[in-house]
Amino acid sequence: MNDKHDGTVAATGGASEIQQRRVQVAQRRKKIDNDASAQYIQVCDHSFFYGSAQVLFDLNMDIPERQVTALIGPSGCGKSTLLRNFNRMNDLIDGISHRGDILIDGRSIYDPYLEVISLRKRIGMVFQKSNPFPKSIYENIVYSLRVAGRNRRAELDETVERSLRAAALWDEVKDRLRETAFSLSGGQMQRLCIARAIANRPEILLMDEPCSALDPVATGKIEDLIHQLKEEYTIIIVTHNMQQAARVSDRTAFLYMGRLIEYDDTETIFTNPTEEQTEAYVSGRFG
């Protein structure tokens, strides 16, 4: 399941290339081990192409564990693309290719011996537009368990309650778990999607503008949620809302035209950015 990497690191060929890759990975691992501040997710020289159009240019960033990292930048700068690369959702698109690498816990996500399915089980994702399945609330949440072949009733029930509580939705829906998910409001649906994403206890949670379609109250709820979830999960969130980024994130990355302009503590980015472009963007002068 690794069709889309014919770049430099691509290893669709013979055994020697695979060998070469192994060495590379081992080297990186060593580097990480040596590094005192070992980072959880590492993006190394990562470039990305839709067909011949390059969208991401040599990104390098280290994302720490159990913190909220915000990706900000003007529309079309490649935030979603980067986010979707973490769980390889871009594989679905035709004619993509990449260069460089992304490591999670020291292991390349493009490793040909890594099942994409297990990668995705490890990484939950919340989409910009909430997308509950046309099933009951209950079935939506246990979906990731069911596809893994886990059908024990007790476990499912336990998961539903835990996930819904974590997503601050339990009290609102506990009496209507068998109703279709479409009967929920927009904000509830988005929280349901969060609950669904964390049902299988992933390690990482990707959120692509989770609040863009919500009113301030629902947005507030989800922001509170993010605060709680970061105790357990590593969260990467894309947002257009500067206040939101400032409120919820620990670290912020500013992307512009597919390049990482600045990446630092949120505090720093919003109060004392190094780059002029960052300053301009966060203060709302362009974007």
Binding site: R120, N131, Y143
Partner: protein, 767 residues
């Protein structure tokens, strides 16, 4: 409404062009009218078909036409000509009195006139019998002789128009039936052309005697010559009581004797001798078993009996499998006749008969056991005759008035039982569903059960769908969920081209090319199919077991590159193995030579007792499948592809595999569309005509054996409508078939639409 001043200064960019408005309004109107007219057109088609069908279920209509005086006399026989214009009556002396019923008071109206056979003056007539089918009178005399008299009507069509019916008698000389010179009391005659016999009952002192003679006809160069007695038989030994009724079927192959105690003896004549074949009691279960009347129905293989209590039954001749001989058995029962039966007249075109007694006349149809018409008439009926064209009924009352009635019963055979029930037709040993609209003989009766056709339709549809559904659905899932888009761009149009193949071409291929191949290699075809299915599962399973190292060599969406060669290989192996299997297992012994023959075509009927035809449901299913697959495929593929991408990516992001995503998310969401696809495919299969017409033998069957053909409702219409006389029973029955087809598809579509709406409601994506 206050009239508003138009704003003076509308900027030009806000002005709507009148043409735009006009076109918009026109299209609105046009689309409404178009839609409505389609609905109206469909309803009109339905109404039209219904109007064609409804007359089938109308009873006979009878209306009086006129009355005529008949000279008072003691009449024993009544007969009529083909047009029922010049009926005749025979009195005890044997004279024929003809009564003109045309244009009373007109210039050409003839008063009643009498004709007599030439020899009538010299003899004393003791009995006269009439065979209406042959228009022939049979005379018996007091001195033990007999003769036949043909009543030969002839119609001329004079210049001034109309029709003039004249009559002429043609009699045979008197012949001796038995040595006893005593009056003949009962007389019967049958002549098949090859052999002719006459049977007569006489009373010699206190003993009843039965004699029969076989007749020969001298054939001369100038045509048929005189009849003369060939051999005489004394059948008195078969009498053990007083015979009341005597009949000889027109085939002249037997004699039926009804005794006064209710028994019927059936003597069979094999051309040389008489043998007693059967003795039966038609009213065994009644207190009074006596037979009041006993007459033939058209064809002389059914007997209409009435009992003194008015019970009315039909016994028919059929082959008894135990005795391997044709015997009489009870086949039909009619409602009792209130006043018994004192007159009887069988129709000459169908299995109807006019029967009754006293004031009551009843027109009944034997095959369907139905009473077409029954009425108490305002006079006491002594004689009745059913017009040979089944368009008149003539009654003579006790005041010597002849009553003419017009009979309008164009579809006497039509009844629910005819079309949808089991019916025991003459000659059959059990009731069954049968369709057979044409036959070799004149007195052949059409069998019009739609059940074999409905079953044939279901059979064809079943085998087509069993073949098409899995392939079309799996192909659509594969194409929309797994195949690379660049391949998909190629596959879909190809399938759509397949859908546009004319079915006559498919039928042609099926009949002339595929049917012989398949029938020559049935085990191979089955094995190859089975092998593909099994291999697909096994290969899929093994593929999952392969180490990922090897699996990553094939990009997702290109797995088929590994798959197809395996499949081809396996199919080929299955095909070859089929011949081996045939050689070893499907072996029958040729009964004539004792040789062992390895041939599935012979083995299958031998092993299962079912038939095997070259053009069978299997081939039809296969080819009709080809007509149906592209339709189901295209619509299903569209439905699957239209599932919002968000569902798919949502599922994949949760760690579901592509197959799990397809089955758990995409398929249910698209279920409404898939359902429509299946229904449209089903509709096509149900209505498909050309393939079935060409690729089956069009035999109406009631079995689901895949190796015989069938006849579907649509094929039946296509095959028979050109031959069906306009507005006749067959014609209307074909329309009834069309109506059934219409209702079947209507029902299926309605149910489907309801289910589809439910599914759509359930899996509706929020916008």
């Amino acid at each position: 409404m206050t009239k508003q001043q138009p704003l003076k200064t509308i900027p030009e960019r806000f002005v709507v062009r009148p043409a735009t408005l006009w076109f918009d309004r026109f299209m609105n109107y046009f689309i409404t009218v178009g839609g409505l007219s389609i609905i109206i057109a469909v309803s009109l088609i339905f109404v039209f078909i219904l109007l064609q069908v409804l007359p089938l279920f109308r009873g006979a209509r009878v209306e009086p036409q006129g009355t005529f005086r008949v000279p008072g006399d003691d009449y024993v026989v009544m007969g009529t000509d083909e047009w029922s214009e010049l009926p005749f009556f025979v009195n005890r002396r044997g004279e024929l009195i003809f009564v003109d019923t045309v244009d009373p008071g007109g210039p050409d109206h003839r008063p009643p006139f009498t004709q007599t056979p030439a020899w009538l003056d010299e003899v004393e007539v003791s009995v006269v019998a009439y065979n209406a089918f042959r228009s022939q009178l049979l005379y018996g005399t007091s001195d033990g002789r007999f003769a036949t008299v043909d009543v030969q009507y002839e119609a001329t069509f004079p210049e001034r128009g109309g029709r003039e019916v004249s009559v002429q008698l043609r009699e045979t000389p008197l012949m001796r039936i038995s040595p006893a010179e005593v009056p003949v009391q009962r007389l019967a005659y049958g002549n098949s052309g090859n052999q002719a016999i006459v049977a007569a009952m006489q009373q010699v002192h206190d003993r009843y005697e039965l004699h029969a003679v076989s007749l020969v006809q001298q054939r001369t160069l100038l045509g048929d010559g005189e009849l003369s007695v060939d051999r005489s038989y004394d059948l008195s030994e078969h009498l053990d009581g007083k015979p009341e009724h005597l009949l000889v079927p027109s085939d002249a192959d037997g004699v039926l004797i009804g005794m006064d105690d209710g028994r019927v003896s059936y003597l069979h004549f094999d051309g040389h001798e008489f043998h007693k074949r059967q003795m039966f009691v038609p009213f065994r279960d009644l207190d009074d078993r006596r037979i009041v009347s006993m007459d033939f129905l058209l064809g002389d293989v059914s007997l209409v009996f009435t009992a003194s209590c008015g019970a009315n039954r039909i016994f028919s001749l059929y082959r008894d499998p135990q005795r391997d001989a044709r015997v009489w058995g009870h086949t039909k029962t009619f409602p009792d006749l209130e006043r018994g039966a004192s007159f009887y007249s069988a129709a000459m075109r169908n299995k109807a008969f006019l029967i009754g007694g006293g004031h009551i006349a009843s027109l009944r149809y034997a095959t369907t056991e139905s009473v077409r018409w029954e009425e108490a008439l305002p006079f006491w009926i002594t004689h009745a005759a059913l017009g040979p064209r089944y368009d008149r009924m003539l009654f003579l009352d006790d005041q010597y008035t002849l009553h003419c009635y017009r009979l309008n019963d164009p579809h006497p055979q039509a009844a629910w039982r005819t079309f949808f029930g089991r019916i025991q037709y003459e000659g059959q040993s059990a009731p069954e569903f049968a369709w057979q609209s044409t036959g070799g003989r004149d007195d052949f009766e059409r069998k019009l059960s739609l059940v074999p056709l409905i079953l044939g339709t279901l059979k064809g549809t079943f085998y087509a769908m069993i073949f098409a559904l899995p392939i079309a659905l799996l192909a659509a899932i594969y194409t929309s969920q797994f195949l690379r888009p660049e391949m998909k761009r190629f596959v879909k149009p190809v399938m759509e081209i397949m859908a546009s193949l004319p079915s006559v071409v498919l039928g042609f291929l099926a009949a002339l090319w595929l049917a012989p191949i398949i029938s020559n290699a049935v085990p191979s075809v089955l094995l190859a199919m089975g092998a593909i299915i099994v291999a697909a599962l096994v290969v899929g399973y093994l593929w999952g077991l392969l180490p990922q190292r090897i699996r990553v060599q094939l990009k997702p969406g290109y797995e088929f590159l590994a798959f197809v060669p395996v499949m081809l290989l396996v199919a080929y192996a299955g095909w070859q193995l089929g011949f081996v299997a045939e050689r070893h297992w499907f072996v029958v012994e040729d009964p004539s030579t004792g040789l062992q023959i390895a041939d599935f075509r012979l083995w299958f009927p031998y092993a299962t007792g079912l038939g095997f035809e070259q053009r069978n449901a299997f081939v039809v299913g296969f080819v009709m499948g080809f007509a149906v697959i592209p339709i189901i495929f295209t619509i299903t593929e569209d439905a699957l592809s239209n599932v919002p991408e968000a569902f798919r990516s949502g599922s994949l992001a949760l760690g579901a595999s592509r197959w799990q995503t397809a089955i758990r998310i995409v398929l249910p969401t698209a279920s409404a569309g898939i359902f429509s696809a299946i229904m449209i495919g089903l509709g096509r299969a149900v209505g498909e005509t050309m393939i079935v017409v060409m690729a089956t033998g069009n035999t109406p069957v009631t079995e689901f054996n895949p190796f015989t053909g069938m006849r579907t409702l649509s094929a039946n219409i296509a095959v028979e409508l050109p031959e069906a006389p306009y507005l006749g029973t067959l014609y209307r029955t074909l329309f009834l078939g069309a109506l059934v087809l219409f209702l079947m598809t209507f029902l299926v579509n309605t149910v489907a639409e309801i289910l589809r709406q439910r599914l759509r409601e359930k899996y509706r994506a929020v916008e």
